[in-house]
Structure formats: structure tokens, C-alpha cells
């Protein structure tokens, strides 16, 4: 029946289809330890209680001291005629010393009055003492002492309230073989991780106290999802309680982490999708820009081609220009020649005509002296062809004609030459104009290209930017693969949960059945006669059949609740005792029930019932505080009572 650690690990490994090593790793990671052993009960008894101090700011200020000694198992009562006589304080001091921390029920001013407190306790067969001084500073100690001996060994010393609490928690958890129960609380913000909450002795010790808060079945443990159930299991002494708590907590934590991780992943995916779209757009824009740029090679080629052309054309332009300037010289010359020839021709024509005229008119007198020219002279002219006036040789008309022809030919020739040159000059001029214009254009285009070749750098830059962006795009579109390890981990944890739960269930069912039966019994003894059935469940809920009506703990009256609470503790103690298991210390402190819902009759019934039970469970120690009543007095003798009569204070 007792499953040991190895078997447990193997079961989990099988269940989660993995290796024992893997399981151990995961459990170690989440601080999950096996607790296979059923706890055997340890009994706590308060032997004595003392506290002292100085009252201030009250009607009756001054030092006080409370002492209660020789306490053993059984019933004890703290009574007063009126309220506010210090009953609660006594109970609170007990609580303070046990927990290492006062509860909020202890009034602050009272807390400040107390300067010293001490409690002797017995756990099984060992004797301990817890005490502190709280005058100017706080300090205290836990000592162990031998029975009937004054020799004491200091186990722990503490010098602050925190240290006190830690010391008590440490000590009692160890003494009662309890492990702190871990719980997981999700963060209110869904995107943030939750946190572990550890419940320890401070919470557990609530099982020993019954106050006026009836919401919880088990003592004054705050109602906390799942906690009460675990407490019940722990107090029942079942094994694997803290383990299952740890496993379930780890699962919650893991799921929470996963959820948070998932949310983060989804958020990141979304972000990445957006980013990817942005980057893609940027890439496209830049690619468009790049395309719009003329390729460097293309530009270079065109430039080379154009410069070559321009060079050739400029040379040609130079040639034409030189030709033109040559033409100018030639033109002038040709024009002159032509004009000369034309003039010469004209002159000749005119002269010939004029000559002819005058030749017709023979001079009849000497032009100089007007002396007439005689016939003889005239004849001589005809013979000698010498002019009768001046003696110069006369030329004939035939020569005249030759010369005319010559001159005409010359004129025609030079005109032809001149025309040719004029034509050539014009065409050269025209050609030059065209070439000049074309060269101008070439130059402009080259300048344009030169400017655009500055775009080469731009091209390089764009290309770089694009590859950078593409790299970024790759990064961003890389989908993170959810690690299989997470699902593995969760699988193992869930496997551990299943295995451990089933182990618990093995014990739980029987135990709970037994406890349930005893609850009915005790409740009846406390006066709940119409209670027929009770079923205590693993989550510390109690369903009832009362007068053939199915109901539950939460639905009954406070008076009935009080009975059931006490009954539950007693039932647990009894079952644990008879089975040799359980962790309840066997100490019960019942503070004054409020007068509204819980009547004096209720209290009386409970007390009578307890009186009878305490004989059956000799280790049980119960402190009951309340208003004086005959019933209580009947069952709890004065020797076992601290009483304040009429207006008295208990301390």
C-alpha cells in the first residue's frame, strides 16, 4: 500500500511516456518532493501560560500578570461575567506564542502592554518552553527542558518578530511533519506572470482555533480555493498531500506561464506580422526607386559613346569652321576677281564703243593748238597705222574682238568660280550650323548623364538598403517554434498529478468515510439530533442529510456550524488516533461564541458533549472561553477554570 519514491517515479514516467530521469529533472525543477509516508500523530499540550506587562491609558492603569499553571489534557474554561474582561487576550497570547505572530484579533494597545510572555508545552514526551520579552526590544527563545528538571537547552533564539515567526513555523512544521503547501495565484494582469504563495504554520495553526468566523469548516483557516482541502488531507495525515499540492501548483504555474507565453507569442507574432508588412513595403518602394535609376553601366556606355561622337563631331566642326574662314578669304578674292573681270569687260566695251565713235571722227584740228591736220598726215596714218595726232600705233578692230572675247571668257570664268565659292560657302555655313546645333545637344546630354552618374552611389546605397531590409524581413518572419520541452514538462507534471492523486484517493476515500461517520456521531452528541448523514469530501466541504433533507455545512445555522466544526476536529482526531495517523496536535481553543446565532444552550450542549469525549480522547486539550453559565460550570470544575466574577478582570 505504501508506495515508495521509486515506484512513484516509475509510475509517473510510464504515465507521461518518458524516462524516470526526465521526470526527476522536471520534479526537481519545480521543487516537488515525494511525501509517501503517512504522518503519525503528535500531541501538543499546553502546560502553563504566563504573560505580564503594564496597562496604560485605561481606567485602571498599572502592571498586570496572568499565570495559569499545571495545565493538562481535558477541558479548561476561561470565564467572565461581562465582556471585555480579557478572555480573548488569553486566547490570543496562546496563539501568539504558538504561531510566533499575534493575530489581528489581539488589540493593538493590549499587544503593546504585554512585556513578557511564556508558555510551557509538551509535544508527545518532550517538553518545550516558548517565551519572549518585548520591552524596549523584542527577543525570545525556544528551549527544550527535561521533565521535572530546570535544565533547559535553548533550541532557538530570536531577536525580532520575524525571527520569532520563522522559528515557530520551522519548529512546529518539523514537529508535526508538515510541509508548507504551495499555491499559485494568477496575476490580475493577464499578460503578467502570477506568483507562488506559500502557506505554512501560520495558516495551519488555524485548525486549532475556533473563533466567531464560521465560514470555514476547519478551524479559522481562511477559505482559499483548494487550501482547505489540502489542510484537511494534511491533518488527516494522508500522504502525498504537500506533493500533490506542489504538483498542482506547478501545473498552474506552468499553464499560467504557458498562457502568458502564448499571449506573448501571439502578441509578438502579430507585431512581427505588422513589422514584416512594413518592411515589405519599404523594400518594394526602394526596389521601385532602384529600377527608376538608370543602370550605371548603361549610363557609362552611353556616355562613352556620346563622348566619342562628340569628339569626332567637334573635330568636324573645327574643320568646317576652318573651311569657312578659308572660304571668306577665297570669297573676297573671288569676288574681287569677278568684279575686276566684270569691270574690265565693261570698261573694254565702253572704251571700244567710245573708241569707235572717235575713230569715226577724224580729228580735224590739233587738240592742243587747234591747227588743222592736213591730208598728208592723214594718209600717213593709213599707211603706217600711226596716229596722225600723236603718232601712236593704231590697232585694228579684229584685235578688239579678240580682247572682248578674252574678257568675256574671263568674266564668265571668274563668275563661275565666284558662284561656286558662294555656293560652297553657303553649304559649309549651313552644315556648320547643323553640326554646331547637334554638338550642343550632345554636350547637353553628356552633362545630363554626368549628373545622373552621380546616381551610381545612390544605386549602391539603395542596393545595400534593400539587402539590409531583406535580412530584417527574414528575421522577422522567422516563426519561433514553440519548444516541445514545454509540452513535455506539462505532460510530466500532469502525469505526476494523476499518479499522485490516485495514490491519495486510495487512502482518502476510506478515511473520509470514517471521519464522516464520526462527525454525525459527535454532532449528535452536541445536540444535533436530526443529523442523519454527513459526507466530508476531499475539498473540506460537508454535505449533510438533516431531517431527510439534503443540505450542507454552509447552509446551516451558526450554532449548528459550531457543533459541526468541533465535531469535525474531534472526528479527525479520533480516526487518526485509531488508525495511527494524522497531524492534528490535539489542541482546541474555542473562543466565546457570539450571542446572536449561537445560544448559551448551544455552548452548553457542546461543552457537555466535549466533557464526555475528553474521557475517550485523553490527549485532547480544549480551552473554552465564554460567559459564565451553569452548564459550563457543571462540566468544567473551578480548578480547571479562570474566572472573573462581576466586574473583575481576568488579568
Amino acid at each position: 500500500m505504501n508506495t515508495n519514491k521509486t515506484q512513484w517515479l516509475q509510475s509517473i514516467a510510464e504515465k507521461s511516456k518518458t524516462t524516470v530521469q526526465q521526470v526527476e529533472n522536471i520534479l526537481l525543477k519545480h521543487h516537488i518532493r515525494p511525501t509517501p509516508v503517512m504522518a503519525s500523530p503528535h500531541r501538543l499540550t499546553v502546560n502553563s501560560l504566563m504573560f505580564s506587562g503594564t496597562k496604560v491609558d485605561v481606567a485602571h492603569p498599572g502592571p498586570f500578570k496572568f499565570v495559569w499553571e499545571d495545565l493538562t489534557g481535558g477541558l479548561w474554561s476561561i470565564l467572565s461575567a461581562k465582556n471585555f474582561r480579557g478572555k480573548s487576550t488569553i486566547i490570543e497570547v496562546i496563539r501568539w506564542l504558538l504561531r510566533g505572530r499575534p493575530s489581528s484579533n489581539l488589540q493593538e494597545d493590549v499587544e503593546n502592554w504585554i512585556e513578557k510572555a511564556e508558555m510551557n508545552i509538551k509535544i508527545d514526551n518532550a517538553y518545550y518552553s516558548i517565551g519572549f520579552e518585548a520591552k524596549s526590544s523584542f527577543k525570545g527563545r525556544l528551549t527544550q527542558r527535561r521533565e521535572n528538571s530546570d535544565k533547559a537547552t535553548v533550541l532557538v533564539e530570536f531577536f525580532s518578530a520575524d525571527e520569532f515567526e520563522a522559528a515557530m513555523s520551522d519548529f512546529f512544521l518539523r514537529m508535526f511533519s508538515m510541509d508548507s503547501i504551495v499555491n499559485w495565484k494568477n496575476n490580475r494582469n493577464e499578460d503578467e506572470l502570477g506568483s507562488y504563495i506559500s502557506h505554512d504554520w501560520c495558516s495551519f495553526s488555524g485548525a486549532m482555533f475556533i473563533g466567531t468566523n464560521y465560514s470555514s469548516l476547519l478551524g479559522e483557516i481562511p477559505v482559499n480555493a483548494g487550501l482547505t482541502g489540502r489542510m484537511l488531507q494534511m491533518y488527516l495525515g494522508m500522504p502525498w498531500v504537500s506533493t500533490i499540492a506542489a504538483v498542482k501548483t506547478a501545473i498552474k504555474a506552468e499553464e499560467n506561464t504557458n498562457r502568458v507565453d502564448e499571449r506573448l507569442l501571439a502578441f509578438n507574432l502579430e507585431k512581427n506580422k505588422k513589422r514584416a508588412a512594413e518592411i515589405k513595403e519599404k523594400i518594394e518602394t526602394k526596389q521601385r526607386e532602384l529600377k527608376a535609376l538608370p543602370s550605371h553601366d548603361k549610363v557609362k556606355n552611353e556616355m562613352t559613346e556620346l563622348s566619342q561622337r562628340l569628339f569626332a563631331d567637334l573635330k568636324y566642326q573645327g574643320t568646317l569652321t576652318k573651311q569657312l574662314s578659308n572660304f571668306e578669304n577665297v570669297y573676297a578674292q573671288a569676288e574681287n576677281d569677278y568684279q575686276d573681270d566684270a569691270r574690265a569687260l565693261q570698261t573694254h566695251i565702253d572704251s571700244s564703243a567710245a573708241g569707235a565713235i572717235f575713230r569715226m571722227l577724224d580729228p580735224s584740228c590739233c587738240p592742243r593748238c587747234d591747227i588743222d591736220i592736213d591730208v598728208e598726215r592723214r594718209q600717213r596714218e593709213i599707211d603706217t597705222h600711226a596716229c596722225s595726232v600723236c603718232g601712236e600705233t593704231l590697232t585694228s578692230e579684229e584685235d578688239d574682238f579678240d580682247v572682248l572675247k578674252q574678257l568675256e571668257d574671263r568674266k564668265v570664268a571668274s563668275k563661275k568660280a565666284f558662284d561656286k565659292i558662294k555656293r560652297k560657302q553657303k553649304s559649309t555655313k549651313d552644315e556648320l550650323k547643323i553640326v554646331e546645333k547637334s554638338n550642343e545637344q550632345l554636350q547637353l546630354r553628356l552633362d545630363e548623364l554626368a549628373n545622373s552618374s552621380n546616381n551610381y552611389q545612390k544605386q549602391v546605397d539603395l542596393k545595400n538598403e534593400i539587402s539590409k531590409l531583406q535580412g530584417m524581413l527574414e528575421e522577422v518572419t522567422k516563426v519561433p517554434v514553440p519548444t516541445a520541452k514545454i509540452s513535455d514538462e506539462l505532460r510530466i507534471l500532469k502525469g505526476a498529478s494523476a499518479v499522485t492523486e490516485s495514490l491519495i484517493k486510495l487512502y482518502q476515500v476510506d478515511l473520509l468515510k470514517m471521519v464522516s461517520e464520526r462527525i454525525v456521531d459527535y454532532a449528535k452528541r452536541f445536540g444535533m439530533t436530526n443529523l442523519q448523514e454527513a459526507e466530508l469530501k476531499g475539498n473540506a466541504t460537508l454535505s449533510l442529510v438533516k431531517g431527510s433533507v439534503t443540505t450542507s455545512y454552509s447552509k446551516v445555522t451558526d450554532g449548528e456550524k459550531l457543533r459541526l466544526k468541533v465535531a469535525t476536529v474531534l472526528a479527525m482526531l479520533e480516526v487518526a488516533e485509531s488508525n495511527g495517523i494524522g497531524r492534528h496536535p490535539g489542541l482546541l481553543v474555542i473562543d466565546s461564541p457570539a450571542a446572536q446565532e449561537v445560544t448559551q444552550e448551544d455552548v452548553d450542549q457542546i461543552v457537555s458533549g466535549l466533557a464526555g469525549i475528553s474521557k475517550e480522547l485523553p490527549f485532547l486539550q480544549v480551552f473554552v472561553s465564554g460567559v459564565n453559565s451553569p452548564a459550563i460550570k457543571k462540566h468544567i470544575p473551578a480548578a480547571r477554570s479562570k474566572e472573573a466574577v462581576s466586574d473583575e478582570y481576568l488579568w
Binding site: 567710245a354 565713235i357 571722227l361 580729228p363
Partner: protein, 210 residues
Amino acid sequence: MRNAHRDAIKILYILNAGSTNFESDEFPDAVSVFKGEVRLQAFDFWIRYPDYLSLELLDLYDATGNTKYLEAVCDIVKNEEPDLRKIPMVRYLFGAYESLADALSILKSRKLIHVAGWYINPNFRDKKYLLTKKGRELCKTAVHNHPVLGWYNERAILVAEVAGNKGGMALKDIQYERADYAETKLGGIIPPVMADVLKRLDGYGNLGQS
């Protein structure tokens, strides 16, 4: 010698165009008289510088609005005359006279003209050129026989119109001023002013150039 003949004809037509009717007992065959050697020279200048003549003609057109002057300039331009018949007369404007002696001799010896005049002082003779009847008739027949010589006739008439009744010195002043202005503007000696003529013709929207 050829040129002397041509010059003789030219002078003959000048005398023909620029003279006024005249009768004399001393020279019974004289029909008209051309007064002044300087005047003769002035006429000759305009014959020999058609572009300068054109400027005067354009002025006449501006003054009178008579299109015949404008047409005359157009004809001159059209026939490329300034270059064709220009005969430099540089020394004339500097005081020296062109030697017209040969031409005049030819005319004298054919009894086409008489050169008269008296010596105002031993160096200066105030000359008058008398055109004879024979000379006048030759003017008519020469053109008929050698139409090419018609140019001299027409041109002389045109020059006579430009000169009007002005005396030689007056004409010379006009010519000198024109030449001086052109020289200032264009440099050189009696520079060609054809460009000016063309510009002015252009202004009338009437180039008539081929």
C-alpha cells in the same frame, strides 16, 4: 588710250547733261555752256561713285517723294553698279584734280567742244566748256550706234538732276561732307557706303535686289 576714249564720251555726256543753253558770236557752233572745271569734277565724282550718288538720290526721294529717285537707286543696286563702274578718285577730295586733259583733247580735236575761259590769275583759269552742235548730235547718234554708251547718257542726266544749279564748290562741299562722315563711321578713304544705301532701301521696304 581706250580709257581716254571712254572718258571722253563720259565727259561729253556730262557736259551735255549739265550745261545750259548758250549762244555766242565768238563760238558760233556752240549750243550750251558748262560752267567750271570744279563742277565738271564734281559731276565726274558722282558718275564714278554710284553709291554716293545713291545716297543723294535717296535724300531727293525723301525730300520730294518722287519714286523715280527710288527706282533709280534700285536700278543701281540691281546692276551691281557700285562695284562695276567705280573708278577711284581719291586725290580729288584732297584738292588735286583728276586729269581730264586727254579726254578733253579728244573732244576738242573733233570739234565737239570748245574750252573757253579767262585767266583770273596766272595759275587759275575760270573755264567754260562749250558744247558744239556737232557734239550734241554725237550724243544722240552714239547711243543709237552703241547702245552700251546709253548708260553714260542716262547717268549724266541723273547726276545733273542731283546737282541742280549748284556751283562746283557747293557740290564739292556736299560730296566732301558725305565722304567725311562715311570715313568717320567706316574708316578708310571714301569707303563704300553701299551698306547704308541698302539699309535705307530696306527702310522703304523696297530692296529690289536680285
